[in-house]
């Protein structure tokens, strides 16, 4: 039984014909061709598939597509405004906070979810908030610093 599920993906309305029990990750990657979001484990253990759902970071591999009807999804592709990168993306580049890059989209989306909830996190709050996103190349320290840097930049913008 196919059903139609509509939601917003990176500020655009989309509608997909699905069974309903597919994961959001599968739909984003294979139906909607947004492959920036990665499959790392399919079990919610690694965070490579993290996206924002209504401004909250979520593991897209653990979410059924029918449960995102009418919600707003942001993926890594929806972060930059044209050529202008999001402060978190900029900070990841500036601090070289990545190696193979496979965990990077999930890291950035999880960081964004964290900073939306808590715009001025302490170092420990960043570590706790990021703890379940895995990076095998070992870029953790640089990622923490990038999030600190991005938080400062984002807070500056709010004040203006």
């Amino acid at each position: 039984m196919k059903q139609s599920v509509s939601f917003k993906l990176n500020n655009q309305n989309v509608s997909v014909e699905v069974n309903g029990d597919e994961s959001l990750l599968t739909i984003i990657r294979t139906y909607l061709d947004k492959t920036g979001t990665k499959f790392g484990c399919g079990l919610g253990d690694c965070g490579a598939c993290t996206v924002l759902i209504d401004n909250e970071a979520a593991r897209s591999c653990m979410i059924l597509i029918e449960d995102v009807a009418n919600k707003e999804i942001i993926t890594i592709e929806g972060l930059a405004t044209g050529e202008i990168l999001h402060p978190i993306q900029k900070a990841f580049i500036t601090l070289d906070a990545l190696q193979c890059g496979f965990c990077t989209p999930g890291m950035i989306m999880n960081a964004l979810g964290l900073l939306i909830k808590n715009p001025t996190p302490t170092r420990n709050e960043i570590i706790n908030g990021m703890e379940d996103n895995l990076c095998r190349c070992g870029s953790y320290n640089r990622i923490v610093e990038a999030i600190e840097m991005a938080a400062k930049e984002m807070n500056k913008k709010v004040k203006i």
Binding site: D45, Q89, C100, L134, Y140
Partner: protein
């Protein structure tokens, strides 16, 4: 591997150019200036290729200055996070006098790039750098030549800046690379040793450069093998046994009739289903019932060490000097130790993936692999076809660490595609990744050391099971020593596999894991050096400095100790630990500080200082990131990672039961490189990780008195040791 031989090669070995006319693909390139460079019989491949003919054909790098002034650099190496997409472009830009932003790296495409045996062994910077620099230097000379002709100026009067050649005395007389190359196709081969730049003239080498692929990676544009979508493509799911090595007896696929559009593929022991929907393929695969004949378990997580010692009874001497008996006689203390290391997974974030299709009878494939050319050969065999009928394309790889050199997933994808006649994508699940990884082998090291009344090491007897000899050449001065590797006689042993009668002694696949073998043996050696120092009451730093017989290692250790502040007072429950090691030409000294909770046995790494002598550092930022990464990853094998199994039945199936280093366990890390810009570059991807196990083990002992001789150093093992004392 033959690192000893390869270490001797450098620019001095430049000689006979290859006969490039046999290379069809040069024709495929457009206009511009193409420089082909090889080091002939003494090529990087010498002794690594499967046959002589391949060795001779090999040319190691070429570059093309295009008609728009941009430069393509072609290399058989691949990018998997180690940063060579940046550092290779950096050395090219240096020699060719162009901005790094005008260099495009074409990597690992088997139709376009020169042959390369594989991206492994921390070899790229050591051996691809020199050839690319030489090719770029030759291109620079050619361009200068042509500019002199065009501008009617003597070559000596010309200078270059950012791709523009101009008259030193009259900068308005100038010509760009683009203008020179326009409408030309010049193919040059190197006939003489090129003039490469001296370190004092470097503008780009030695300066920190941010990864050139960072933008693609933070925007989600970077493509990996599972990100390719082809028209008419189907997703494949392989039906797996629960036990490694099981053979197929019978397949019952009757339940597949419930799934519309599903096809079953059977090819020997390979059973798979394909469907245009990924999730349907996954669901359908679960319904295929296969009866497997599984091999019987002969060992498990705990019995494996005794099993290895019992099974492997033959040995060969790797290095020896003096006389062990005399060593024993002159020692005032003789100390025995036994050290163990369990199986470790590579666990890259990207599971093995491949996407492929047939264009006529030619297979085109994108695969997460460290060995595109090796994969091509494997596919030629598997498909019973010829080299021209397989092309492996350039793609990013999401971490390799030695685990992506075997390419099982790509062969499966190709066979399935051939069988179903459609483009196929195969992405292994995390469970498959943990089952078909070629694990770092479990290892046993037996050590006997002796020391005299002056605190000098007098005896070193080192027996290695299943960790190879890489990095075991002694840098301590010990007159009477022997290092033996246990392996079947006449079997060329390495650190990856150990066979008896051509059957592996390990219950599942084993292979190269970032600095193969060296993590296990360095852990054993450096633990035992500490044990010996403590037995005679000498500070471990002083003991090492007293016994080192290696100038660079001594300097590296001193650098680490100064930066760490070895004499700094420790907080309650904190401990310091040192480990030294040598890998891929690089000397490493790591000093770690940990806190151990004596009630729970839990270890918190506090800080790590790593000093390295890695010769010339091309990209100090990239080298730092690599070193930090190696240390962070290394904490995993030291403290958490252990593959659990009963025979080929792997209990470790996901990150819930295979803990790797996480944010909260990452200490403050400081990396220092000895200043050696005039030297040749040494390895950078692997060396640092080898010292993590030993440094942590020694720091844990210093913090709480628990000497844990088996990695990972888990809370349980620490508490066990504490209860003994």
């Amino acid at each position: 591997m033959k690192p000893d031989k390869i270490d001797q090669l450098y620019f001095s070995d430049v000689n006979e150019p290859i006969k490039f006319d046999r290379r069809e693909f040069l024709k495929k390139l457009g206009g511009g200036i193409i420089v082909v460079f090889c080091i002939g019989k003494l090529s990087l491949l010498d002794g690594w290729g499967k046959n002589e003919a391949v060795d001779e054909l090999n040319f190691n790098a070429y570059l093309r200055v295009k008609e728009n002034g941009r430069v393509n650099c072609y290399t058989g190496k691949i990018e998997m996070g180690q940063g060579i997409i940046t550092s290779l472009a950096q050395v090219l830009a240096e020699e060719l006098e162009v901005p790094i932003s005008s260099v495009d790296m074409i990597m690992g495409d088997t139709d376009l790039c020169p042959y390369d045996a594989g991206t492994w062994g921390s070899l790229t910077t050591r051996f691809a750098d020199p050839v690319i620099r030489a090719a770029a230097a030759e291109a620079r000379e050619t361009l200068l030549n042509l500019a002199a002709e065009k501008l009617h100026i003597n070559e000596d009067q010309l200078t270059i800046k950012e791709g523009v050649i101009f008259d030193i005395n009259n900068p308005s007389k100038k010509i760009t690379y683009a203008e020179i190359t326009k409408g030309k196709k010049i193919v040059k081969t190197l006939t003489k040793k090129p003039e490469i730049k001296k370190a004092k003239d470097f503008k780009i080498i030695g300066t920190p450069i941010i990864s050139t692929d960072a933008l693609a990676k933070v925007t989600g544009k970077a493509q990996y093998s599972g990100d390719i979508k082809l028209p008419g493509m189907v997703y494949a799911t392989v039906v797996r046994p629960t036990v490694y090595g099981a053979k197929k007896l019978k397949v019952d696929a009757s339940a597949l009739s419930d799934f519309e559009g599903v096809a079953l593929i059977e090819d020997g022991d390979l059973v798979a289903v394909v469907h245009t929907s990924l999730e349907t393929a996954n669901k359908a695969a679960k319904k295929v019932k296969v009866i497997w004949d599984a091999p019987k378990a002969t060992s498990n997580t705990d019995s494996i060490f005794q099993y290895l010692e019992d099974q492997i009874t033959e040995s060969s001497v790797f290095k020896e000097a003096g006389d062990l008996l005399i060593g024993k006689q002159i020692s005032i203390r003789i100390i025995d130790g036994k050290y163990y290391d369990g199986y470790k997974a590579h666990a890259p974030m990207e599971t093995h993936s491949a996407t492929c299709y047939f264009e006529g009878d030619k297979l085109i494939i994108w695969a997460s692999t460290q060995t595109p050319f090796g994969l091509r050969d494997q596919l030629v065999n598997a498909l019973h076809t010829s080299t021209e009928k397989v092309q492996v394309k350039q793609i990013f790889t999401g971490g390799g660490f030695g685990g992506k050199i075997y390419n099982k997933q790509a062969i499966e994808a190709a066979l399935i595609s051939k069988s179903c006649g459609k483009p196929v994508q195969l992405v292994w699940s995390r469970k498959e990744e943990f089952m078909y990884d070629r694990f770092r082998p479990a290892a046993v090291m037996n050590v006997t050391s002796g020391v005299d009344n002056k605190g000098k090491l007098t005896l070193w007897d080192f027996d290695i099971y299943c960790a190879g000899t890489r990095g075991t050449s002694l840098f301590y001065g010990i007159e009477n020593n022997r290092t033996r590797m246990f392996n079947e006689k006449n079997v060329r042993g390495d650190s990856h596999t150990n066979s008896l009668n051509n059957v592996s002694v390990h219950p599942f696949g084993t292979g190269a894991w970032r600095a193969p073998g060296n993590n296990s043996t360095t852990f054993a050696r450096e633990s035992h050096i500490d044990v010996t120092a403590h037995k005679i009451g000498i500070d471990p730093l002083e003991f090492r400095l007293n016994n080192l017989n290696h100038k660079n290692m001594t300097a590296t250790l001193k650098l680490a100790a100064e930066n760490f502040g070895w004499k700094k007072p420790k907080k309650e429950g904190h401990g310091y630990g040192i480990a030294l090691g040598e890998d891929a030409g690089t000397c490493v000294a790591i000093i770690a500080e940990v806190f151990v909770n004596k009630n729970t046995g839990e270890v918190q790494p506090i800080r790590v200082v790593c000093a390295q002598d890695m010769g010339q550092v091309v990209n100090p930022l990239g080298a730092t990131v690599q070193t930090e990464g190696g240390i962070t990853m290394g904490l995993g094998y030291a403290l958490f990672e252990e593959v659990e199994f009963n025979g080929g039945n792997l209990k470790t199936r996901n990150f819930k039961n295979y803990e790797i280093t996480k944010f909260s366990k990452t200490p403050e890390i400081t990396c220092i490189f000895r200043d050696k810009m005039d030297s040749k570059p040494e390895g950078g991807g692997e060396p640092a990780i080898i010292c993590v196990g030993g440094a942590i083990a020694n720091a844990v002992f210093d913090a709480c008195g628990a000497r844990v001789n088996r990695m990972p150093i888990t809370p349980e093992r620490i508490l066990n040791e504490l209860n003994k004392t």
